[in-house]
């Protein structure tokens, strides 16, 4: 299983398990939070600077969070010159999220990042719901980037496609080294009094708890049709959410919305994940990767053993409330 975790990311002493979702953290403003991750993923860098979308940029709903940040960033020139050297000093493996509006824009940024030793991996943001979509398909963009970089290349996909498995296979064939699943889904919230859109751009990207089953389905579906390592994300707030994504086939888990309310979430979720995995008889969380697909070979805890080891007589233990109290 350790082999699975290492694939595509070069040799590592400890498999990086917990990352942040791109766009959810500014490591230069909150370095301690970034250092508490196994790898830090930057906000998406675009070829040109972007101020971002007009306020209001955020709206909490009962089931999740809508954002309309709009890929605010300094652009690749200022990123390389002013931000990357400082990010490199953080001492945490660095993934750069690359965005663009056409395949050649993505590729140009990847080419400029190729020679930078601070950068461990590149993630192509192929699915931001808050900007106009890039021209060209995900696979065309991956192919263009593959030609100019030897760094591990992750494709960040949205679950809002007709056949996500097809897209996953296509980006794999185009040379992607991994998948990041999932980006936010487009959503709308209206003010309860005026019935006007709460976000400045009306529509925004939905994240948080509402994404959990969507992310699980995406990871599960892609794990069945590709062998690419998967970074699973979408509403992870507790160790059991992370464990579920691993079981669905992710080898890493990324945190987003939860970081806003709890900047100490990485350490908490890492501890909860180990606890939840142990509760089910797994020696390590990594051993649970793919468990939902029914392949039991090589696991210390078979399905039967997991059933037996789950504490039946403590009805509270394992519920959300019990985990919340422990944290």
């Amino acid at each position: 299983m350790a082999e699975t975790l290492r694939r595509g990311a070069g040799p590592e002493r400890r498999p990086p398990l917990i990352l942040n979702a791109s766009g959810c953290l500014d490591a230069l403003t909150a370095p301690a939070v970034a250092r508490s991750l196994d790898a830090f993923v930057t906000k998406t860098v675009t070829p040109l600077p972007r101020g971002g979308n007009p306020p209001v940029r955020i709206a909490e709903t009962d089931v999740g969070l809508l954002n309309s940040i709009g890929l605010a960033n300094l652009g690749i020139d200022a990123f390389l010159e002013r931000q990357l050297p400082r990010l490199g000093e953080l001492g945490v493996p660095l993934w750069v999220s690359v965005g663009g509006f056409a395949a050649d824009g993505y590729a140009a940024s990847c080419a400029r990042l190729e020679g930078r030793p601070e950068v461990e991996a590149l993630e192509l943001n192929l699915s931001c719901p808050n900007v106009d979509g890039a021209a060209g398909t995900a696979a065309e963009i991956v192919l263009a980037c593959r030609r100019v970089t030897a760094k591990p290349l992750y494709a960040k996909l949205s679950a809002a496609t007709w056949d996500l498995g097809e897209t996953a296979r296509a980006v794999e064939a185009a040379g992607a080294d991994g998948l990041s699943l999932v980006n936010t889904l487009r959503g709308l919230a209206l003010d309860e009094r005026t019935l006007q859109p709460r976000l400045g751009t009306a529509l925004g990207g939905l994240s948080g708890p509402a994404l959990r089953p969507v992310a699980l389905a995406a990871v599960y579906a892609c794990a069945r049709v590709t062998t690419l390592p998967i970074v699973g994300m979408g509403g992870v707030a507790r160790g059991r959410d992370a464990l579920a994504l691993l079981a669905a086939g992710a080898s890493r888990v990324a945190l987003g919305t939860v970081l806003f309310g709890d900047p100490q979430a990485p350490a908490r979720i890492r501890a909860e994940l180990a606890e939840e995995a142990a509760l089910l008889g797994f020696r390590t969380p990594a051993e649970a990767v793919g468990a939902a697909h029914g392949r039991e070979d090589g696991r210390s805890a078979t399905l039967d053993q997991r059933l037996r080891s789950f504490p039946q007589n403590t009805c509270k233990l394992g519920t959300n409330e019990a985990v919340d109290r422990r944290s």
Partner: protein
Amino acid sequence: MLRRAALSVLGVEPVGPYTLLRLRRGAIRPGVPGQLFMLEAPGRLLPRPMSLCLAPPGELGFLIDPIGPGTRALACLEPGDELGVLGPLGHGFRLDVERPLLVGGGIGIAPLPYLSERLGHPPALVGFRSEWHAEAAALVPRAEVVVEPTLVTERLPEEPWDVLACGPEPMLRALRRLAPSAQLAWEAPMACGYGACYSCAVELDGEWQRLCVEGPVLSGGLR
């Protein structure tokens, strides 16, 4: 360094339509007036940004306007409840001013009581939409109170005061015109409070400012 701790509720008191939430101070420092704190809102996804209203020994007091699900959840807390508090965050008011005049509008008076204490109780000018809302003026020492339709900007003295203000955005924009060097505490919907999400960014004079990092207090619009 971010500091987050679970603080216990000491009291929940009505102040006109507002609610004064009194917390045991615990490991959280009161910081500089105008800095913000992210208060865990029970049952909600995001914490809510609040400036500190009162800082008596061992306590932190927050004035809450219960207008939405998060602020209502905060106002419904009971003594003995615990909630996570992150802060203090961002930049508060500079206190090296010669002739301070505190100006507040509505729930924007929240940081003024603590600010008044730290500045030795300078004069204040506060405005509200109704007499009921104006009951909160009792929290601000030496406050001249106006109620709509009268606006605080109509009562701003001509002499060169150092204006320190918090209130609705139209009031702050009007104050910028009348007192260009005023220190103004701005507000925007905010998810994280520590510079991660970029949701509280506002464009002032062509520059994007994250209110939780560069603000919430900006001098003359720009720090």
